[in-house]
């Protein structure tokens, strides 16, 4: 697992790679990712070509327009145009992460919502017990409850969203 730090709190595009198995390098081969957890739609689109065919993309639907747009009096690109050409190749799931986070305890629970959504895909090679234990270990008693709630809301949301999204991609091939 490798992180590129330094600019993480300065609004730049920040990526973290997680790899498991008999590997040494934290940096994946380009175009070989199995799962992309994107906390912003534009960033999901930016990294979409790094995914292998048939890989899953989970996208938080919260748009954070970069200042580059405002300086040009431009607006955020249309969501469908961001993924349109990849909807055949990839499984794109839009997660209402902000809404779910806020209803489970606060905006900052977005991470746990996304983790829950990722877990429900069944591609993470970890058990739910292990995730729950880690949330409790890492966050401590005070924050664990809300984050566990957020995790489960994220997981449940996927069951509902799947069919909805399938309809949407069929409409916009």
């Amino acid at each position: 697992m490798s992180e590129i730090h330094g600019l993480s709190q300065r609004g730049g595009s920040v990526s973290v790679d997680v790899r498991t198995g008999d590997i040494r390098s934290p940096i994946p081969l380009c175009s070989a990712l199995d799962l992309l957890l994107a906390f912003e739609p534009l960033e999901a689109a930016r990294f979409r070509r790094c995914l292998r065919d048939g890989a899953s993309v989970l996208v938080s639907d919260e748009k954070l327009p970069p200042i580059w747009l405002g300086i040009r009096r431009m607006e955020y690109p249309d969501m469908r145009s961001l993924f349109g050409d990849e909807s055949e190749r990839l499984k794109v799931h839009i997660v209402p992460a902000k809404e779910l986070a806020e209803s489970s305890g606060g905006y900052r629970m977005i991470n746990s919502v996304m983790l829950g959504a990722a877990f429900s895909l069944g591609v993470l090679e970890v058990s739910i017990d292990s995730i729950e234990k880690s949330i409790m270990d890492v966050l401590g008693d005070r924050n664990a409850t809300a984050n566990l709630r957020a995790f489960h809301m994220g997981a449940q949301s996927m069951a509902l969203k799947e069919t909805e999204y399938m309809e949407q991609t069929r409409k916009n091939p």
Partner: protein, 626 residues
């Protein structure tokens, strides 16, 4: 992360740790008593971890004014018998190199480690210099881990080695080791009952020519002994291919990781010699490895450091193994290595073909470069200076910038950085340009950088009669690297009260009379002061003082206070000044309207000022907080 878990686990237990956290744990296990640093990515988390555990672990730890002083402090502790460590980013070692190039001669007593975190691909640095050359330059031993586990274990080895040969040890990581997270098996803590006691040895610790003449020979003698230590060291190991192979690869550190994965991907049979003890290199091991293979690839990031040494070994021993590296063009000289880099090199060296996809990031999307945070006082000052320059009708102004968050003033819409080279450079470079051109120079420097190395340049500018406008962006922290304290801050790394140094007193003591202190949120006063400075001759210093928004936000959250701003669409005249020229990431254009994202709004309220919103359309809203 709760850093105290670094102490709570006992020997044999496992933790998922960042390379830098593993190093902090290694400091504890090795019985180190003294640690000093100046923060810099990618080394910063070592300090962050030590700051929270040093008291409990009985370690003296400080954020020093700069790397040179940090290295001197660690040396002082070491020659007084205590184990000490000094750590920094790669360019920090340039600042500390004066120390390094003398203490290699004198040697040390308590084990001393100098950790340097290099930054291939320059994720957060001005260059990607290869600090392995410092080991050659100084004749000091150097170790390089390739995983968090090794980072901890090699560090402990480094202290033992340092003490055994009375020599400081260079410990080199790179971004992909310092920021690599992996499982680390915790070891036992060596409790040191040593107390610091300096025993004079004037033939050794005084680097006068008479001593140094003799000490240089001792250093070379130690290096000879260390060659043997390297050849026998368990830090060097071979991953032997399951089948007999004619191909070998010599590698180290982060390059080892991508090489291992690349070999697996290509399916070629190759033995991999991983070198952890990289100065002096293990001559015997390399000789044998060369003799056992028809072709040897040297896979290392940045300069052909190992490759040149490997070629030397071959030449001296008359070995005709086909050696491939950078010098013959098989591997690139710059940027961090990925699996693709190594796969391409293997293909070109062995004539095998492996198809690699070309596409990576989509470059056609709106970019997202780093920006000033919502509420950041730097934005306000850059906004003000830009206006002041325009209002003064000033043409050909030169902006001399420096290292810190405020380097982002380079980017649009501000564009207020024409030069920026290294820590403290804004004042010296600005002085040179002012003297050479007669143009108006506006220099920017942050508080931590001013203390780090700006003060001598300002004295120099005053002494030599330069004309200069210096804006010190004092946000009361070393923000970019993680909000570490600096000498101007009235608290230490644990938040306890500490003595602070008055920057304005220093500036005035130099003899500079025109010193103004402004609040960057107060756009009107700030503008007045900048315009006055532009009109004035001589040196003007403006201290723009307002705490870092990240620190303020943290405090506000603790107090459950949140103020937000919103746009009154009835009043908004759509002049676009807020998005075009103020450029706060919380403000954007959506469906033809200016809107403020409440999740990002910091509540600073500066956008509501008439200088930013002439229509007075931005107003405060109250917000309930749980």
């Amino acid at each position: 992360m709760k850093a105290d878990r670094l102490l709570s686990k006992t020997s044999g237990e496992e933790l998922l740790l960042l390379g830098n956290e593993a190093i902090a744990r290694g400091v504890v296990e090795a019985g180190v008593r003294f640690a000093a640093t100046y923060p810099g990515t990618p080394s910063s988390e070592v300090g962050e971890s030590l700051a929270s555990i040093s008291d409990k672990a009985g370690i003296y730890f400080e954020y020093s004014i700069n790397e040179k002083v940090a290295a001197e402090i660690a040396y002082g502790a070491s020659i007084s018998g205590l184990r000490s460590i000094v750590f920094m980013k790669h360019v920090g070692l340039n600042v500390a190199s004066d120390v390094l190039n003398s203490i290699n001669y004198t040697g040390i007593r308590g084990g001393m480690v100098i950790m340097t975190a290099d930054d291939p691909s320059m994720y957060s640095s001005q260059n990607e210099q290869d600090n392995r050359h410092y080991a050659e330059l100084t004749h000091l031993p150097m170790l390089e881990p390739s995983s968090p586990q090794e980072a901890k274990d090699f560090l402990i080895y480094a202290f033992d080695l340092s003490e055994k040969y009375s020599i400081p040890v260079i410990f080199r990581t790179t971004t992909r080791i310092s920021h690599l997270r992996g499982i680390v098996k915790i070891g036992s803590v060596r409790n040191s009952d040593r107390t610091g006691k300096f025993v004079p040895d004037r033939n050794r610790f005084v680097a006068l020519p008479s001593n140094s003449y003799r000490l240089k020979q001792e250093l070379i003698h130690k290096e000879e002994l260390l060659k043997g230590a390297s050849s026998e060291s368990p830090l060097n190991s071979i991953d032997a291919s399951s089948s007999h192979t004619e191909i070998g690869i010599i590698t180290s550190g982060a390059a080892y990781n991508v090489t291992y994965d690349a070999v697996k991907y290509t399916g070629i049979a190759a033995d991999i010699l991983k070198i952890g003890f990289t100065n002096p290199i293990p001559n015997h091991l390399i000789t044998e490895f060369l003799q056992n293979h028809r072709m040897v690839l040297v896979s290392e990031e940045l300069d052909p450091y190992l490759e040149a040494k490997v070629r030397n070994v071959a030449q001296i021993n008359g070995i005709d193994t086909d050696i491939r590296g950078k010098i013959d063009g098989t591997f690139p000289f710059s940027h961090e290595y990925t699996q693709e880099t190594v796969i391409r090199a293997i293909s070109s060296a062995t004539g095998s073909t492996h198809s690699l996809p070309e596409e990576t990031l989509d470059q056609n999307l709106p970019p997202r470069p780093p920006v000033f945070c919502p509420g950041c006082p730097h934005r306000d000052m850059y906004y003000t200076v830009r206006r002041a320059v325009k209002m003064s009708g000033l043409k050909e102004v030169i902006y001399s910038s420096d290292i810190g968050c405020y380097s982002l003033g380079l980017y649009e819409p501000f564009g207020e950085a024409d030069t920026m080279i290294e820590m403290g450079s804004s004042i010296g470079v600005g002085q040179g340009m002012a003297l050479a051109t007669g143009q108006t120079v506006i220099s920017f420097i942050g508080d931590s950088t001013f203390f780090h190395s700006g003060i001598p340049s300002l004295i120099n500018a005053y002494r030599n009669g330069s004309r200069m406008i210096l804006i010190i962006l004092d946000n009361g922290t070393t923000a970019m690297t993680g909000q570490e304290p600096n000498p101007g801050v009235p608290y230490d790394q644990e938040g306890k009260p500490a003595r602070s140094v008055s920057m304005e007193s220093i500036v005035k003591a130099i003899g500079i009379d025109n010193v103004a202190i402004v609040d960057p949120y107060d756009l009107k006063t700030s503008l007045k002061e900048v315009i006055a400075a532009i009109k004035r001759d001589g040196i003007s210093v403006i201290i723009a003082r307002r705490e870092c928004a990240i620190i303020r936000d943290r405090e506000m959250r603790k107090k459950h206070q949140v103020t937000l701003y919103t746009v009154d669409q009835e009043k908004c005249g759509l002049c676009y000044n807020c998005v075009e020229n103020f450029a706060c990431p919380a403000i954007n254009l959506t469906d033809g309207k200016i809107v403020i994202n409440p999740a990002l709004c910091d509540g600073c309220g500066v956008c509501a000022e008439p200088y930013v919103c002439p229509f007075q359309a931005i107003k405060e809203v109250s917000q309930d907080v749980k």
